[in-house]
Symmetry: C2
Subunit: 319 residues, 2 copies
Amino acid sequence: MITRADVDAATRRIAGLVRRTPVAQVEADLFSPEGSAPPGELWLKLEHLQHTGSFKTRGATNRILAAAESGELSKEAGVVAASGGNAGLAVAHVAKRLGIPAEVHVPEHAPPVKVAKLRALGAAVRQGGSQYAEAYDSAVKRAADTGALFCHAYDQPEICAGQGSVGLELAEQIPNLDTVLVAVGGGGLMAGVATALAGQARVTAVEPETIPTLRAALDAGRPVDIEVSGIAADSLGARRIGEIAYQVAVREDVGSVLVSDEAIIRARRLLWQRCRIAVEHGTAAALAALIAGAYLPAEGQRAAVLLCGANTDPSDLAG
Amino acid sequence: MITRADVDAATRRIAGLVRRTPVAQVEADLFSPEGSAPPGELWLKLEHLQHTGSFKTRGATNRILAAAESGELSKEAGVVAASGGNAGLAVAHVAKRLGIPAEVHVPEHAPPVKVAKLRALGAAVRQGGSQYAEAYDSAVKRAADTGALFCHAYDQPEICAGQGSVGLELAEQIPNLDTVLVAVGGGGLMAGVATALAGQARVTAVEPETIPTLRAALDAGRPVDIEVSGIAADSLGARRIGEIAYQVAVREDVGSVLVSDEAIIRARRLLWQRCRIAVEHGTAAALAALIAGAYLPAEGQRAAVLLCGANTDPSDLAG
């Protein structure tokens, strides 16, 4: 579990190493379905402008700096992570910036373009196994063998607390915010933001119908494994929600709304057409909840959509 | 010529019909060439998030609303413009929003995708002639024949004053700004921003080497025709600087720095890679001045780059 004090500490710790990302107010009805009531105000939090193109840099920075403070980090052994996506990029970026070695474990058939990006950030890439779970196991084992600091993609307190810094920033930028729509995979971002905004604004988790990790956990009364598929699997494709995220969701009464792949694809395209913002499919899920009417804002509500990542091939946005 | 009072009036007039676009502070040295001194602070003004993807909506809104106030606008005859690019889109958008007809004249061989966009905004598109100059002449004649309001792409006081509203917004957002880099084609944006920021911050015009409209005018002592070519010609491809822009540039001592097409292409790509912002080549020119070292910031200077348009095919940003 994490507390507001953890998020406050994380925010102080990582200041100067992460970007303060801007918010943009757009027309309240810009993404509301015809005939449905729009929110009172609609804001976009442009966190996709963060270093490495996603919020993951916040958590990774906090995890590594906290470990350096506590003495847990060996600068020689460095850090190790398991991720072919945003979490891996973030860990590689932070390690490079701090001048420590990073090793990122990915499945054997990870896309060459992702491996190349990790290498460009100076990380050693270890490929092996056919599943993400095997990369995860080998990263954990490697950390135990070498003394490197293991950085989880979402289920560590320092990771979640670091992601929460974007929530505090949002509250500063929009003091009277009522609600924030946040895409959920492993749930680290939701956990941090819901903790940061507790008592101030409500967080609604948005999940693809094909990867309902939080919904499944809420239904089962505990995190459970689910099948992963669909257009947003590259960024939201965790097999189960993190323990911390699940506990925070229960504590803060975070609801889950589901969106179809079709709505996600449409949301990503409309965001480009109407605002010239290109994001990844997982991020577009949060906006899809508005567009598809899966989330219905209350009258006069001040709503924000957290745009959390843009590691996407924008080719299909042309025209 | 335009004055600060014109910009103030425009800003009040168009409030609510244009978006207040955010600014993002990035690392001061993010776009400085190796070995050169970075500015003290570096800000990006995200005006490419404006309606229709460019600042042109500001000027068009002001032009049309000012004419409605003065009685110059006939709501039946509507508005007419000559532009296959951002100015045409802006006029079509504003007319649609205000419920008046718009006619946009373009050359016979204007790209079908641009014609389709204008039509999607409800504009009647008139194609004819092989050159932009012919579309311009036919639009002016049409306005005279029908009583429609002619909206120039850059050289009308209300157009320039409207663009200036982005300068006032910038000064509010960054109170101690020292300098703004602005891309120049016809110069409407530069004229507005330099007037808005007079006495507060310096404006530097950035022009492609292949389209130096302001430089040529400053050298000749008056606006003169030049040859137009290069990667940014679709948005900065005016054949000569506007009269108003030239006069403001002289009054406010706006300097011109030139950038190569190569630097423009590189700047556009780096902006995507480092900030996940996709802009058109003409807009990237402003950033290219920093990247190529064509503009050298003074020590401690607070600099902003105005990102003014994103009507671009982002396909080539993949990877």
